[in-house]
């Protein structure tokens, strides 16, 4: 996703000379193509994220369109007050690009895990929160965020994420993408678990559980209509995300269902439990520990669905 991001940003910057790229000294071997092509619009501010967001706000107040890049915790949490006041309160055209969403930096430990970022950015007025599910969605999300006025947070994975969409889907911020149209149950996934969610849906379909699969790349504003349609037309809704069970996609969907649900629908959130990992390991390993491997999710859903038949 990093590569899709930087390639797309370079294309955009070619056409729009107001686009800048800022980094807090991260993105080695990724950002150079922008830095080399547009040196006057590139800034490595050093390891100083609070300052970076302030500078981005100053650039935006001067008519520029800064994309601000770092690892998720450092571009959202370290500088949260600057994001809140400098960017969101002033409703400035600043784009936050977080790399390594969820457990991408698994072995690096809790400092580099990003499991609360969607919750806190979603709470900010004026903020748009987008979690692309594959490189195709990343490309589309970067384009869409550049043409959307106002703050956007794009939560990326890291590298070598599989392509989920065989061809570029129609992508609009705030509109989920229906990948499969089954009518038994619905899986709503976001971000870098989309590929896993697709494998789960494939397996459930093999087991004759007709599974609707929605890529909810935009967590804010959430696509209420698509959620309510799924709740009407299928008998269970599952959310899948590599984020804390508190405050992310699952919470956003729960809010919609609780306030608007027209009938009782079985609803479960599959997410990271409300705890710091005590275990050391890779993204795959930690997903397994959290019950979020493809096999675990598949068994969990199919068991629930069988019990409730």
């Amino acid at each position: 996703m990093r590569i899709a991001f930087i390639k797309t940003l370079c294309e955009l910057a070619e056409r729009n000379d107001q686009i800048w790229l800022l980094t807090g000294d991260l993105g080695y071997s990724v950002l150079e193509q922008f830095a080399n092509r547009f040196p006057d619009r590139y800034l490595n501010v050093g390891v100083a994220e609070a300052n970076m967001i302030g500078i981005a706000a100053g650039l935006a107040l001067s008519g520029r369109v800064p994309f601000v890049y770092s690892i998720v915790p450092f571009v959202t949490m370290r500088c949260f007050e600057q994001v809140r006041l400098d960017v969101c309160y002033q409703n400035l055209n600043v784009k936050l690009i977080g790399v390594g969403g969820g457990l991408c930096y698994g072995t690096a430990g809790a400092s580099h895990h990003s499991l609360e970022d969607v919750a806190i950015t979603r709470a900010l007025p004026n903020m748009t929160v987008v979690c692309p599910g594959d490189p195709i969605e990343t490309q589309a999300a970067i384009r869409a965020s550049a043409s959307r006025t106002g703050p956007v947070y794009v939560r990326l994975g890291r590298s070598r994420e599989p392509v989920v969409h065989p061809s570029p889907p129609e992508f609009r911020i705030g509109t989920g993408i229906t990948i499969y149209g089954g009518n038994d149950i619905t899986i709503i996934a976001t971000g870098n678990l989309l590929a896993s969610a697709k494998s789960v849906a494939d397996e459930l379909n093999v087991r004759s559980i007709a599974t609707r699969l929605i890529s909810m790349h935009t967590v804010k504003p959430i696509d209420k209509d698509l959620i309510l349609k799924a709740a009407q037309e299928t008998r269970a809704v599952f959310t899948i995300e590599e984020h804390s069970v508190i405050g992310g996609l699952g919470s956003a969907v729960a809010e919609v269902l609780a306030e608007n649900g027209t009938r009782k629908v079985l609803f479960r959130r599959l997410a990271i439990p409300d705890a710091y990992f005590q275990e050391v390991g890779s993204q795959e390993y930690l997903r397994h520990k959290a019950g979020l491997s493809v096999g675990q999710i598949t068994e969990y859903i199919s068991n629930i669905v069988r019990q409730r038949k």
């Binding site: 800034l43 100083a48 300052n51 500078i55 706000a57 100053g58 107040l61 520029r64 400098d86």
Partner: protein, 274 residues
């Protein structure tokens, strides 16, 4: 624009009178901090800044950021007197359904460039504006007014390092050195000294002035950048509560607001000459 020399006595007094009334009416805090910066704001807005109240968003205008946003009563009063908006609006300061909140807020009235209130934000934003101008060969300048207590914030020094590194000589920081912060003297809470040396070490050209001496303020601000390829820092020695005898250098007036009697005394001291 009024000629400043003949207004040096009058303008700051009028601004201070408005501040005292605004804070009395709203019974809010920070009157000492607002009175502290009046002379600096007067010189900036009536002499130094290239601005046009009729075209407050002009592309080439100089930018001013009140990083110590809690002094905004002084900024609002200065902007009103400079013609950015009607003086009547000052009466709505911190009132229900009013237009002027208790920390500087952009868009609430013309002329406020940046929303502040949490300390340590303004210099980074100013650095962003300054590097935008540098890279595009634009000629506008950026001025940020910080409190001395604000320099406790690490983000001030992140921005200071950045501006020094990038040689932003179109950026000036004025530090309102009144030596009093929320719990007492800056020496006791968290010693800032040697403050000038710190800015120098971060790559800035530094001057110390009397922050209530209009001539010094004007001569110094007119002389930026002090050195080519360096941002300029002005450490302005000031008195918290300046202009009202019983508020001067008193920590309590970081919090208190005047009662009717105190208002009358303050206005008497500031000369009822409207």
């Amino acid at each position: 624009m009024p000629k400043l020399a003949e207004n040096y006595e009058k303008l700051p007094r009028e601004i201070r009178r408005r501040i005292v009334r605004m804070v009395f009416r709203s019974q809010t805090s920070h009157i000492g901090s607002a009175l502290s910066v009046v002379d600096i704001l007067t010189v900036l807005y009536f002499k130094i800044l290239s601005i046009d109240p009729k075209n407050p968003q002009a592309e080439d205008r100089d930018r001013f950021i009140l990083s110590k946003g809690h002094s905004c009563a002084a900024l609002y009063a200065t902007l009103a007197l400079r013609g950015f908006f009607s003086e009547e609006i000052l009466e709505s300061y911190c009132q229900d359904d009013g237009r002027l909140p208790g920390h500087a807020t952009m868009h609430c009235v013309p002329g406020v460039e940046v929303s502040t209130g949490s300390l340590g934000h303004g210099l980074a934003i100013g650095s962003g504006m300054a590097i935008a101008a540098k890279r595009a060969n634009q000629k506008y300048r950026v001025f940020a007014l910080l409190s001395d207590g604000e320099c406790d914030e690490g983000s001030v020094w992140e921005a200071a390092m950045f501006a020094g590194h990038h040689k932003l000589d179109n950026l000036t920081a004025v530090i309102d050195r009144n030596r009093i912060q929320a719990f007492g003297s800056t020496d006791q809470v968290l010693d800032l000294e040697p403050l000038a040396d710190k800015w120098t070490a971060f790559g800035w050209a530094v001057r110390k002035i009397d922050g209530h001496d209009y001539v010094q303020i004007e001569e110094t601000l007119a002389d930026v950048p002090f050195e080519p390829k360096k941002p300029s820092a002005i450490i302005a020695q000031t008195i918290k509560g300046k202009g009202v005898s019983f508020m001067e250098n008193k920590l309590a007036w970081h919090y208190k607001s005047p009662n009717a009697e105190q208002l009358a005394q303050a206005l008497a001291e500031l000369g009822d000459i409207e």
